[in-house]
């Protein structure tokens, strides 16, 4: 097999990872059934002391954050006119859309009465950050679907609607950037209201800015990681000439973010919490070292950025550090004030992993079916046996 772009075989062949994915998705369906018949208490470790768990901390905060590559890249290509990045726009927009779909499914599980989700459209409270979040999720998911729709229209053989969307692409991308900026930052604003609860290592009046900039950094990291994963799965080569400059952007975003975090800790006089090296201090150091210091330090060297292994490693650290940060804000930093320790239940973990697995399965399906990568639909790497 030498031509990754061949459409010779789209047939799916079960392997180890697809088996794991199938198991997780079955587990997800079982937990979902129990959750809707017995209530949230039956499958989660949520409680009156700890009402938000990993379905918010991981599924929602990370799902949205890691979709940030989509608005970053569409802005770079369509607004800043750096057309050389065009080949990776489609997979990134697809990741963004799947990320938001993932978030919506998680929300439907986490909300006590998800069948009332439309209430946010009818009953308004503009004073609520959650109201802003709800509208951003709705509108930006629509924008992402529209941005991706030409791919589907082309596949269906309807060039007219695809051309129509192409003509609207500039306002669409601007709308997407505005909504993303609002949405990414509003997830940080959610925590502005708990100055007496969130630990001073994480609380800051600048939380919306922290969330926004770190999402750009980790969103770029996600683009690199996803290129690597699709490369592995579909035997495609890494587009190093595109990913290396992207990693430079990641260093800048994470660098600014790191400085802002240091400034916030200085402002809160929270250095003592690190020196004490307690629970919060340890978690902070782990998060900041893995997610900011190491990726910024390593990726500052062109030699490392240009090496595919180091590049993917740096991107992985940025994403890992991002996930740790969101979990630290939503869980670690809130535990002391709540007076309890929260550990996710098996049900919560199965649902989160099941959703990730479902996202990967849909991504792989889309890559096999549509023209996501420049060479066209990609066949399975194991197809040489057919």
């Amino acid at each position: 097999m030498n031509n990754a772009g061949s459409i010779a075989s789209r047939r799916f062949r079960p392997g180890f990872w697809s088996g794991i994915a199938a198991l997780l998705i079955i587990g997800f369906l079982i937990v979902t059934t129990i959750r809707f018949t017995k209530g949230l208490g039956a499958v989660t470790h949520l409680s009156d002391q700890f009402p938000w768990g990993i379905w918010i901390g991981f599924d929602l905060l990370c799902g949205v954050g890691l979709a940030a590559g989509a608005f970053t890249l569409t802005a770079v290509v369509h607004l800043f006119n750096l057309k050389k990045f065009e080949p990776i726009v489609r997979p990134t927009v697809l990741t963004g859309f799947l990320g938001y779909a993932f978030v919506i499914v998680a929300l439907l599980l986490d909300l006590g009465q998800p069948w009332r989700i439309w209430h946010a459209i009818v009953y308004w409270n503009p004073h609520s950050v959650m109201f802003e979040v709800a509208w951003c999720v709705m509108l930006y998911t629509t924008v992402l679907a529209l941005e991706f729709s030409p791919v589907v229209f082309e596949w269906l053989g309807f060039p007219a609607p695809a051309r129509f969307i192409h003509r609207l692409i500039t306002p669409l991308v601007i709308l997407g950037v505005l909504l993303s900026t609002l949405h990414q930052s509003s997830l940080g604003s959610l925590y502005l209201i708990v100055p007496s609860k969130l630990h001073p290592l994480w609380y800051s009046p600048m939380l919306p800015v922290h969330f926004y900039i770190s999402a750009i950094g980790a969103g770029i990291g996600m683009v690199i990681l996803e290129s690597y994963l699709s490369g592995r799965t579909f035997h495609r080569h890494l587009e190093m000439e595109l990913l290396e400059p992207l990693a430079r952007g990641m260093v800048v975003a994470l660098g600014i973010y790191g400085l802002l975090r240091v400034q916030a800790i200085q402002r809160n006089h929270a250095w003592g919490a690190i020196r004490e090296f307690g629970y919060e201090g340890q978690m902070f150091l782990l998060e900041f070292t893995l997610g900011v210091l190491l990726p910024v330090g390593l990726m500052s060297f062109r030699r490392l950025r240009s090496n595919p292994n180091w590049l993917v490693g740096g991107a992985f650290l940025a994403v890992l550090g991002f996930v740790m940060n969101r979990l630290n804000i939503s869980i670690t930093g809130m535990e002391a004030a709540s007076g309890t320790r929260y550990l996710p239940s098996a049900g919560e973990i199965i649902v989160s992993l099941g959703l990730v697995a479902a996202g990967m399965v849909v991504f792989a399906f889309a890559v096999r079916t549509f023209k996501i990568f420049p060479d066209g639909p990609v066949s399975d790497s194991r197809k040489e046996r057919t």
């Binding site: 949230l40 009156d48 009332r116 009953y123 601007i174 950037v177 209201i193 100055p195 609860k197 009046p205």
Partner: protein, 250 residues
């Protein structure tokens, strides 16, 4: 001016009549629990040898009402912060945001709602005091206009300075509350939050949210400007290239 409650821990005899009356008034199932739950909207806790009531404080600028995306929680002019279970979609942001950790959830039900004290809003509308205040045999919980209660609390602190800690809890906590407490032990030892700013937490998010219209307008124009400049630059480069081609040929 809104109504409120004043709880004087030095007068409470710990009989629990308030908690039972609340259960009866709001038809809440089960016995009175030691902590607030979706089914126990007020309870007595013993700290430092004192009985302390736990219940919704009915903030003047309630954080829960400000964070609720569907406005299911609302501060009424009469004082109570009321809850509409028909609107609530169950995001539980109120539970996260409440500086007093008051709203509780029905974790055991497939169709859950929030449970919290509503200061007997329906009774207040009829001109009656709350069920808990009416049931109290020791006048430890008294009902009245908030301003009168503040005056009453200050009078008690002034008349018996040694008998109280010199602070009316709820006067300024989280921007002030309709339910206030006085006691003869430090409030943090009584299980009450004492690290709450006097500015209502809702102001912190409103400062950000109120800027959204300006943000959208300014950045929308800016981003379009960036696009216009980069697109124009490309057109110019393209035309120049064509022109030079022509010149080459001629």
């Amino acid at each position: 001016m809104g109504m409120g409650l004043l709880f004087d821990a030095t007068r409470c005899i710990g009989c629990g009549a308030c908690s039972s009356a609340c259960k009866e008034q709001n038809k809440l199932p089960g016995p009175v629990e030691e902590v607030l739950t979706a089914y126990t909207w007020t309870t007595l806790q013993t700290r430092e040898g004192l009985n302390v009531r736990r219940m919704c404080m009915h903030c003047e600028v309630p954080t829960c009402a400000s964070v609720c995306p569907v406005a299911a929680l609302v501060k009424t002019p009469e004082g109570p912060v009321v809850y509409d279970g028909q609107r609530c979609m169950g995001c539980r942001y109120c539970m996260m945001a409440c500086p007093f950790d008051v709203p509780k959830y029905q974790w055991d039900r497939p169709v859950p709602v929030i449970g919290k004290c509503v200061l007997c809003a329906s009774r207040i509308k009829e001109g009656k005091p709350t069920a808990c205040a009416e049931a109290c045999p020791a006048e430890a919980t008294i009902f009245g206009k908030r301003e009168d209660l503040v005056w009453e609390a200050r009078t008690r602190l002034r008349q018996k300075p040694g008998a109280y800690v010199d602070h009316v809890y709820g006067l300024s906590e989280a921007g002030g509350t309709s339910v206030m407490m006085i006691a003869n032990a430090p409030f943090d030892k009584l299980g009450l939050k004492t690290n709450l700013p006097a500015e209502p937490p809702a102001m912190r998010t409103w400062q950000v949210l109120s800027n959204i219209p300006d943000f959208v307008a300014v950045w929308g124009v800016l981003l379009y400007g960036v696009h216009w400049i980069t697109a124009r630059r490309e057109t110019v480069a393209h035309t120049e290239a064509q022109d030079s081609n022509k010149e080459d040929r001629s």
